[in-house]
C-alpha cells in the first residue's frame, strides 16, 4: 500500500512538472540525457559495448558460435537476442527465467536488427543445411534508470560493428580473402523511445517518467530514414497524429544518435 501511494505521488509530481513544461532533470522534452558509448570492453566477446544514458547502464556482448541453421533458411546465419534483467540492476528485477519485460526488450532490439537487415546472414553460412554462425546478442542490464530499449539497441548495433568472426577458434579456416572474417554490417538501426505524459511527448524517459507515462512508443529507424521496427507500450491508447509525430521525432533523433555514436 505504501508503495502504491508513492507511485501516485511520483506520477503527480512528474505530471505537474510536464504541465509546466519541465522535466525532473531539467531537460527539454526532446532531449536525451547524456550518452556514453564504450566499445570492445569485453575481451571474451567478439564484440561488446557499454552504453550509459544518464544513470541507465547496459552492457551488450556479441558472441559467434557455430550451430545449426533453421530448417527454412539452411544457408543463413542465425541471430539470437537475449536480455537479462539481472536483479543487480534494479530493486524491481528478480532472479529467474525471462519475464515479459525482458522478453519484450530482447525482441524489440532483435526486430530492429532483423528489419534493417543490418547483418548479412547469407555471409554466415559455414556449410549449407549443416552449420552456420549463430550470432548471440546478449543484453546485460546493469542499472535501470529508464529507457532500457534505446540503450540496449544502441549497444547492440555498436557491439555488432567491427566484429571478427572467430573462425580459427573453431578450426574453421576461411579459404578466401581475409576480409571474409569480418561480420558485414549493412545498416545502423537506432531506437528512439518516447512516452506520453499529460499529452506531451517526452523523448528518452527516465525511470520516474516511464512510471508516470500512460503510453509510449519505440521507433527504430535506419540510415536512410526508413523504419525497421516499432512497439507501442502502456495501458492507454495513442491517437494517430500523436503516433505520426512520434515517428517523425524518432527518425530525427535516431539520425542524431547515429552520427554521434556509431
Amino acid at each position: 500500500m505504501g508503495l502504491e501511494i508513492m507511485d501516485d505521488v511520483r506520477r503527480d509530481y512528474i505530471y505537474n512538472l510536464v504541465k509546466r513544461g519541465k522535466r525532473e532533470d531539467g531537460r527539454d522534452f526532446r532531449d536525451y540525457r547524456e550518452i556514453k558509448v564504450e566499445k570492445d570492453i569485453i575481451k571474451r566477446a567478439e564484440g561488446s559495448a557499454r552504453v550509459k544514458i544518464g544513470n541507465t547502464e547496459v552492457l551488450v556482448g556479441v558472441k559467434l558460435e557455430p550451430g545449426e541453421p533453421f530448417p527454412d533458411s539452411p544457408d543463413e546465419g542465425v541471430i539470437i537476442t537475449n536480455a537479462e534483467l539481472v536483479p543487480l540492476a534494479s530493486p524491481e528485477f528478480e532472479p529467474g527465467p525471462p519475464n515479459e519485460d525482458s522478453v519484450q526488450l530482447a525482441r524489440v532490439v532483435d526486430r530492429g536488427i532483423r528489419g534493417s537487415e543490418a547483418i548479412d546472414l547469407s555471409k554466415l553460412c559455414i556449410e549449407e543445411g549443416e552449420k552456420v554462425w549463430i550470432v548471440f546478442i546478449d543484453i546485460h542490464v546493469l542499472d535501470n534508470d529508464g529507457n532500457l530499449v534505446d540503450a540496449a539497441a544502441l549497444g547492440a548495433i555498436a557491439a555488432l560493428l567491427n566484429i571478427h568472426i572467430p573462425a580459427e577458434r573453431y578450426g574453421l579456416s576461411s579459404s578466401e580473402g581475409e576480409d571474409t572474417n569480418t561480420l558485414p554490417i549493412r545498416d545502423k538501426p537506432v531506437a528512439v523511445t518516447m512516452v506520453d505524459v499529460g499529452g506531451e511527448i517526452l523523448v528518452d524517459p527516465n525511470y520516474n517518467e516511464e512510471k508516470a507515462a500512460v503510453s509510449g512508443l519505440t521507433v527504430i529507424t535506419n540510415t536512410d530514414g526508413t523504419i525497421s521496427g516499432m512497439q507501442k507500450y502502456g495501458r492507454e491508447g495513442l491517437a494517430e497524429d500523436k503516433i505520426s509525430e512520434m515517428v517523425e521525432i524518432g527518425i530525427e533523433k535516431a539520425d542524431e544518435l547515429r552520427r554521434r555514436f556509431l
Binding site: E100, G115, T226, I227, G234, G237, V247
Partner: protein, 238 residues
C-alpha cells in the same frame, strides 16, 4: 528476414485474389463455450482462434492483488497442431510478448475499477494459424470480454497491414508474411480512433507507414461492425 523469389502480386491482385485493401473472410461466433464466463470463436481466413474469459474472480496469490482495480491477464497459446511444424506445448518468447501486447491492447477499454482485488483472465487458443493470429486473438478476446459481461468502454478491433512486392496491403496471409517486406499489426478502439497496440517489423518508409496505418484503421472499423453485429445477434437470440 524476409525471403525472396516469390511474386506475391499479379495483375494488381494478391495470390489469393484479394485487393490490396481487402480483408480475408471473417466469421465470428459468440458464447461457444459452456464453462467459460464469456467466449468467442473467430476465423480470419485460415486462422481459427477461440477466446475465453473467466472473472472477475478472486486473485491468487493475494500479494499480487491491486486494491484499486482488477488485474487483467492475457494468455496467447498456440495448439501444437496449429502450425506446419508441431509447436512444443508451453509458452515461448514469442507468445510471452504477444500476450503482453494483447493485454495492453485491451486494457484501455476495460473498466477495471469496478472490481478491485480481482483478476480477469483472457485465454486465447490458436487452433489453426495462417498469419494474423495475434490480431484474430485480440478481436476474439474483445468479444469474449463483452460476452462475459465485463464492463467496457468500447470494443477493441485489430488487424495487420504489411508490405509485399513494394505495395502496402491489408491483412497478410502466411505466404505474404513469409515473403513480404514488412508486417505491422495494430489494435484500435475503432470508434475513438485510438491505437492501443502497434508493432512493426520489416522495413517501411514513413509514407508507407502512414498509408498502412490508415488502411489498418479503416479495416478495424469494418471489423468493429462485425464484432458488434455478432454480439447483437447473440443477445437477440437469448
Amino acid at each position: 528476414m524476409k525471403k525472396e523469389g516469390i511474386e506475391l502480386i499479379k495483375d494488381g491482385k494478391r495470390l489469393d485474389g484479394r485487393d490490396f485493401d481487402e480483408l480475408r473472410p471473417i466469421k465470428i461466433e459468440v458464447g461457444v463455450l459452456k464453462r467459460a464466463d464469456g467466449s468467442c470463436y473467430f476465423e480470419l481466413g485460415d486462422n481459427k482462434v477461440i477466446a475465453a474469459v473467466y472473472g472477475p474472480r478472486e486473485m491468487h496469490p493475494r500479494h499480487a492483488q491491486d486494491a484499486k482495480m482488477a488485474v487483467l491477464k492475457y494468455r496467447y497459446n498456440m495448439a501444437p497442431f496449429s502450425v506446419d511444424e508441431r509447436k512444443r506445448p508451453g509458452p515461448d518468447r514469442r507468445s510471452v510478448e504477444i500476450s503482453k501486447v494483447s493485454r495492453e491492447a485491451l486494457e484501455p477499454v476495460i473498466i477495471k475499477e469496478f472490481y478491485p482485488k480481482t483478476e480477469i483472465d483472457v485465454y486465447v487458443e490458436i487452433l489453426q494459424s495462417d498469419a494474423g493470429t495475434r490480431t484474430a486473438g485480440i478481436n476474439a478476446a474483445s468479444v469474449a470480454l463483452a460476452d462475459a459481461g465485463i464492463p467496457m468502454k468500447d470494443l477493441v478491433s485489430s488487424v495487420a497491414v504489411g508490405k509485399i512486392d513494394g505495395e502496402v496491403v491489408l491483412d497478410l496471409n502466411a505466404v505474404e508474411d513469409n515473403y513480404g517486406e514488412a508486417d505491422m499489426p495494430i489494435a484500435m478502439v475503432a470508434r475513438r480512433n485510438t491505437i492501443t497496440a502497434l508493432q512493426m517489423d520489416g522495413r517501411m518508409t514513413k509514407e508507407e507507414f502512414d498509408k498502412g496505418l490508415k488502411l489498418a484503421m479503416n479495416a478495424c472499423r469494418q471489423i468493429y461492425e462485425l464484432q458488434r453485429t455478432a454480439l447483437i445477434e447473440r443477445y437477440s437470440e437469448m
